[in-house]
């Protein structure tokens, strides 16, 4: 029952954020930008003027699957981001914001890259260890079960840290995106507001993901503290 309080609000928040980003993307995909530049044109202009010519641009299937890969210095754009729309412009500029972070060795991007490995392990193994530990604690005497569960919590907190470190990375990429678009004269004042709608909606999904992870971690801790007390 308690799990509902920890799980339902963040889950609904995540669904709300997903709905917001999809509806903003759909809305502004229908709005052509004033200069009729498609995603590749925007990428070309920004890369040339921002000293990011070395970034490779590739297509990727799916909707909103766009990303920048810092290892290969590749920006991958989905079909929707290749159209001459305001939404495409926002997304391309955002991904190039990550490329600019990478170029400047942005501290949070570096931190995120540093913990991605342990975070991946933590997100998969952390919960499993937690539940195995709880089962052991329930069916056997001795502290081993709870110790395993706490180890799971510590591992899982690496995944939580990852979602938290992602926030400054994504917010900063969106701020850079706006600046780049203005600096290069690619947006009108009205378009800047529309770009903001797409970028803010996208940022909300990362906030929701972080809230979900933090809430799950708090639930794990809450359960284990309760289990410790009942053991005393």
């Amino acid at each position: 029952m308690l799990y509902l309080l920890f799980a339902v609000p963040p889950m609904l928040l995540a669904l709300y954020a997903q709905w917001r980003v999809q509806s903003a993307f759909r809305q502004y995909s229908q709005v052509p930008n004033a200069q009729r530049l498609n995603g590749f044109d925007v990428a070309r202009i920004l890369m040339r003027n921002e000293g990011l010519e070395y970034v490779q641009v590739e297509s990727i299937p799916g909707e909103l699957t766009d990303h920048y890969d810092p290892r290969g210095k590749v920006m991958r754009l989905s079909q929707g981001s290749q159209a001459p729309s305001v939404a495409a412009m926002a997304i391309v500029a955002h991904e190039l914001g990550h490329a600019a972070q990478d170029k400047q060795d942005y501290v949070w991007l570096r931190a995120r890259a540093g913990i991605v490995g342990i975070a991946n392990i933590g997100s998969q193994l952390g919960s499993i260890l937690f539940f195995i530990g709880l089962m052991l604690a329930a069916f056997s005497r001795g502290p081993m079960g709870l110790q395993i569960a706490w180890a799971g919590v510590i591992l899982f907190s690496a995944a939580v840290a990852f979602t938290l470190v992602t926030l400054p990375v994504e917010f900063n990429a969106s701020a850079r995106a706006r600046e780049m678009l203005v600096r290069n004269g690619l947006v009108t004042q009205q378009e800047l507001g529309q770009v903001g709608s797409v970028l803010n909606a996208a940022a909300l999904t990362y906030v929701a993901a972080a809230a979900q992870a933090v809430s799950q971690l708090l639930y794990f801790i809450f359960v284990l503290i309760g289990a410790n007390r009942s053991d005393d």
Partner: protein, 39 residues
């Protein structure tokens, strides 16, 4: 049984209130940091 139902209802209502608060706060902070978008 009735007590259980009442408790579930209270938990459900609290969940919805928390969701609304979280959604408002997340949107407010995002807009504060990134700037107000066009509505």
């Amino acid at each position: 049984m009735e007590e259980d139902l009442r408790r579930r209802l209270v938990y459900g209502i609290i969940s919805l209130i928390l969701t609304s608060l979280a959604a408002w706060l997340a949107t407010y902070l995002t807009n504060k940091i990134l700037g107000e978008p066009e509505e």
